[in-house]
């Protein structure tokens, strides 16, 4: 079971996009993403929504597969900006490495 960290969305705020709440989990981003990989980035956005910080850190390597191409952001029907959320998570993980 993933541990839910309610403070995670707050923790993320200094690192960028905080519109994950807008996502309604439709999967358009995962369908259009050139990576075609295991529901990426939809799954990660879901983890952000529910504050599953452990899961994100567990899958942190996957974040760097993202090309920052912006196609998911362009097509997201909810303006959840998935591409920028992935970039914000990269920043969050790098900052964690630096701290540890």
């Amino acid at each position: 079971m993933a541990r839910i960290e309610t403070a995670f969305i707050e923790d993320m705020k200094p690192f960028g996009e905080d519109v994950a709440a807008a996502c309604f989990n439709c999967g358009t981003c995962a369908a259009i993403c050139p990576l075609v990989s295991d529901h990426f980035p939809r799954k990660i956005i879901r983890y952000v929504q529910i504050g599953a910080k452990d899961r994100i850190l567990e899958h942190s390597r996957d974040l760097w597969q993202c090309l920052h191409c912006g196609l998911c952001t362009q097509t997201c029907p909810r303006g959840a900006n998935p591409g920028e959320i992935i970039l914000s998570l990269k920043r969050y993980v790098v900052a964690n490495w630096r701290r540890s």
């Binding site: 690192f15 050139p34 990576l35 942190s60 390597r61 974040l63 760097w64 597969q65 090309l67 920052h68 191409c69 912006g70 196609l71 952001t73 362009q74 970039l87 998570l89 990269k90 920043r91 993980v93 790098v94 900052a95 490495w97 630096r98």
Partner: protein
């Protein structure tokens, strides 16, 4: 796939030490202007951001990274305090063929010819032309990006530079969007494509353009190259994924996973080839990546310059 932390650490250390991601002294990287003597005075400064110059080095280092990806050797990258020669520094410079460097230098030389023929008032000062730091940003190393961007912006400001002409989408995005947002540095930034004012009625060619993500989506300037080509008598035959819906060439993944990058570029090449027309790119990363995977691709500047000469 390499451990992103190892790659980020190597690139960050290189930028700190040499102000570029490959740790190669700038005079070795930036030699394209030496025989050409571009103007030293003018209204706007040509700012290459060194991206075209980096492509031959990216090709060499990616080639080595691809050989060791997912092998036991990939783990050694983390111990690369003294970076492996194929990844950075003089070792990488020596391993990179001169013919490749000349090929990419020629693109910048053609851009100068195009600007001159379009009667644009511009100048070039190599000492102020630096790498923008955009890769640090894309990799999420925000502190390193901000630190480097401050250095670049401060140099330009101190020299009294306000107007910049850029040559690639990544540097354009960094200067136009990221510098104002993260280091409060505002410049008047125009990609050279927007300044081309050339007409030719000789051409009857058709080409297929590969729109880079940063021009197609982030900066929304896909119409400009099509207009420029049309003025030169060259029609664009679009693939389905073009303009703001362009498909990424996979280039940004090449340092972390050459394998993944290769899978993505092959799909894109198949799509671009489907029109049967010659492929044209306008981003050094796309150009290098598409060529590496075997596609016959020309840079937009070379196509336009051939139109002036012809």
């Amino acid at each position: 796939m390499y451990n992103p932390k190892d790659i980020i650490d190597v690139i960050g250390a290189n930028v700190r030490m040499t102000r570029n991601p490959f740790g190669i002294p700038k005079f070795l990287v930036n030699s394209w202007h030496q025989d050409l003597h571009p103007p030293q005075k003018g209204e706007a400064m040509l700012f290459t951001g060194l991206m075209y110059q980096f492509v031959p080095y990216i090709e060499t280092s990616t080639d080595y990274l691809a050989r060791f990806e997912d092998s036991d050797w990939s783990q050694y990258l983390r111990y690369a305090r003294y970076m492996p020669g194929y990844l950075s520094g003089l070792g990488l410079a020596l391993l990179t063929p001169g013919s490749q460097k000349r090929k990419y230098n020629a693109i910048l030389q053609n851009i100068v010819r195009i600007l001159a023929a379009s009667r644009v008032s511009f100048f070039y000062r190599p000492e102020l032309d630096d790498y923008s730091g955009v890769l640090l940003y894309d990799l999420g190393d925000q502190d390193a990006f901000v630190q480097h961007a401050r250095y670049v912006a401060a140099k330009l400001k101190k020299a009294g530079i306000r107007k910049l002409i850029t040559v690639d989408p990544h540097t354009t995005y960094a200067l136009k969007v990221l510098f104002p947002k993260y280091v409060e540095a505002e410049f008047d930034v125009t990609p050279y494509v927007e300044l081309i004012n050339l007409h030719s009625h000789n051409g009857t060619r058709r080409v297929t353009l590969h729109d880079p993500c940063f021009y197609g989506r982030y900066l929304a300037v896909s119409d400009t190259p099509r207009r420029v080509l049309s003025n030169m008598g060259i029609d664009c035959v679009n693939v389905r994924n073009s303009g703001s819906f362009t498909s990424c060439c996979g280039g940004p993944a090449e340092s972390i996973s050459p394998k993944l990058s290769d899978q993505i570029v092959r799909k894109r090449i198949d799509e671009l080839k489907s029109t049967g027309e010659p492929i044209v790119a306008m981003c050094p990363i796309c150009l290098g990546n598409l060529r590496k995977a075997g596609a016959n691709v020309e840079d937009l500047a070379n196509v336009i310059a051939a139109g002036i000469n012809g």
